[in-house]
Amino acid sequence: MISIFITAFVVGGLICVVGQLLFDVAKLTPAHTLCLLVVIGSVLDGLGLYEPLIDFAGAGATIPITSFGNSLTHGAMAEAEKHGLIGVLTGMFEVTSSGISSAIIFGFIASFLFKPKGTI
C-alpha cells in the first residue's frame, strides 16, 4: 500500500525529468515536448509496456501526459480486438474521454469565473 505512493512519486517525477531534459538539452518548446511524450506513451502501449507501468506506479503513470497517448491507443486497440480495423477509429476515445471532457468543461467554467492576473 505504502509502496505504490513511493513508486508513484518516483516514476511520475522521472517522467517529468525526461520532459525537463527535452526542454533544456533538446531545446524543445513545451508544446513540442508534450506532443513527443504523448507519442512515446502511445508507442509504449503498442508494445504492451505502459499497462505494466500503471500497475507498478499507479498515478505516477496515469497523471503524466504520456498516459493520454496510452489510453487513446488502448481504447483503439481494445475496440479493434472486438470489431477489427474499424474499431481503431471507433474506440479511440473510449478510455480517455474523461480527461478531454473535463478539460473542456472546467476550462469553460473557468472563463466565467476568472480573468488573467498578470502579477508575478
Binding site: P116, G118, I120
Partner: protein, 333 residues
Amino acid sequence: MVARGLLTFKTNPSIASTGVTAGPLEKKSPFVSLFDKMYDEEQSGAGTNEQGHAKMMEDACMIALSKVDSVPEDADFLLIGDLVNQMTPSNFCAATVGIPYMGMFSACATSVSTLITAALLTDSGFSKIAIAGAGSQHNAVERQFRYPIEYGSQKPETSQWTVTAVGVAAVTPNKKGMPSIVCATIGSVVDLGMTDPLNMGAAMAPAAADTLQRHLDGHGTKITDYDCIMTGDLGKTGFELYKTLASNNGIDVTENFRDAGEEFYGEDPSFFAGASGAGCSSTVYFSEIYAKMLQGEYKRVLLIATGALLSPLSFQQGDTIPCIAHAVELTMK
C-alpha cells in the same frame, strides 16, 4: 564618403516636457518617484488590456502637454507606437486625443525613432509641438508574442519582463534651459542568427554595438564626450554582450554605459534579466535621463534604443530575429 543614416539638426529642437505613466508592478522600479502617474491595476481601469494600454498612452500625452500649458489642439503631430498587432492602442489613443497622427514601429526602439522624426519635423519648421513616444503593456504584449498570462511555462534567466509603461516627450523648437536634440543615427538591421525569443538581449546586442560604432564614427565623437550612453532594453545578458562587442571594436567601456532594461526593476530576480518592451526605454529616457539633464548632472547623453523586429509568425516559421538600434544625442546647455 557620404555617411549614411546620419542626421544633424540645425536648430537643435528641445524636449520641453515629458509624460510618463506606468502600471502597478512598475512601482518596484527604482525610478518610480520620477514617473508622473501610476495605476493600481494592470488595465488602468479600462475593460481590456488593449483599452487600458490606450488609456495609459492618452494620459501620458495629456500630462506632457499640460506641463507646457497646452491642450491637444495646440499640438501639431503625434508620433507614437507600441507592440500590439497593428498598433491599435496607439491608434485608439490618437483617436481620443485628436492630434494629427502617424503610428511608428521600430519595436522597442520606437522611443528614439519617434523622437528623431519629431526633431526632423520641428527642425524643418512644420511643428511647434510634436508628441513623440512609445509604450507597452505587459499582458497585451505577452499574450501576443508568447503565451497566455496564466500559462505555466518556465522562463530562463535570460528572459525579460515586458513593462507596463508609456513615456512620451513634447518636442518643440529650441528653448533655453531645456535638453535639446543635436544629432541622430538611424540604425540598420543587424541579424547575427539568434533565434531564442527568450533571450532577446543577446539578439539585440550586436545592433546596439553597430549603431554605437556608426554614431561615433559618423559624428566624429568619442565615448568620453558623453556623460551617459544608455541603451534601451538589452537586459543583464544583452548588456554584457553589448559591452563585450563594443570593447572588441576598440571602444573603452566605462561606467558611463547604462542600460534601461537592466536597471528598470533594480536587482529583483523575479524579473529575470530585467525589463523590455517599447515602454522600457521611453520611460527611463523621459524620466531618469531627462531629470538628470534638467538638474545639470548630465550635459551630453547618447540614447541607443534597441528593438527586436520579430513576430510570433516569423519565430514559428523558424526565422532568425532581426534587430535594430536607433541613436539620438541630447545636450543640455
